[in-house]
Amino acid sequence: MPDWKLSARAPLDGHERNIGTVAVAEVTDLALVSAAVPRGGDEAFAAALAGGFGATRPVTGDSTLGNRHAARVLGMQPDQVFILFAPPDPDRPAGTVAAALASAAYVTDQSDSWVILRMTGAGVRTALERICPLDLDDRVFPLHRVARTAMEHLSVIVLRDGADSFLLMSPRSSARSFRHAVELSLEHVSE
């Protein structure tokens, strides 16, 4: 019996490109797991998050950093967070989170649901003006802010992780359309 093995493929095969002053790079080494808070379980959840990831629970629209697994916790919905982290076992990130949070949350692996692009460099916001309806001004969308919105008919989660650095997550199946939207914006604003 042959030894069938499955090899993994990232949505954009680890795509990287520099356009003008901005670098676009697919992020492939992070796992993303959602954790929903059971009705009435807010305190237990906060405690579990602190214990499991060393993170405080963010309000919706904000993110916090934990001290385990390089975790970042994103407040996505009133009763749901996403945990973005470096997984010990990339095939079982939900298991890692479930173990960390025990019964304090309902966890679902989202790692393969999204393509993640990091855009970094001066001028990144000028490019995003062409597709992103959110106000990304420092005073309105400071570091660690997170929001889901729509760009070019695609759902996109925007996370600010630096002065000129954003993580953008969009559904995996339309990853190529999303990359095209992002890169066309950069081409349109580059000199």
Binding site: Q77, P133, T149, A150
Partner: protein
């Protein structure tokens, strides 16, 4: 249009999907002896006011909250935005 989301602040209404009158929260009791008439009215009959209208919007490209937006149908002015879940609980809906 801009909807001032109670958790997220002002967001373009294009991120939302509209359903209709917030009376759709008040789903009748299917066990009521007049259930057929109650459900007919619930689903079909509308006040359709020219003025303040409480209505349901879903933040599809956002935090997936259903909101109850109180908006004037003559001027489009929005005077209040609430989480629909809070409204539903306040109206006595539970399990």
């Amino acid at each position: 249009m801009i909807i001032d989301h109670p958790l997220l602040g002002p967001r373009d209404a294009a991120e939302f999907v509209y359903l209709g009158d917030a009376c759709l929260i008040d789903r009748p009791d299917p066990g009521d002896e007049n259930a057929a008439r109650l459900f007919h009215d619930y689903l079909h009959i509308r006040d359709n006011p020219a003025g303040e209208h409480r209505e349901l919007w879903f933040h599809e490209h956002g935090d997936r909250s259903w909101l109850v937006v109180t908006r004037n149908t003559l001027t489009h002015e929005i005077v209040r935005v609430e989480l629909a879940r809070d409204v539903a609980l306040a109206r006595g809906r539970d399990r």
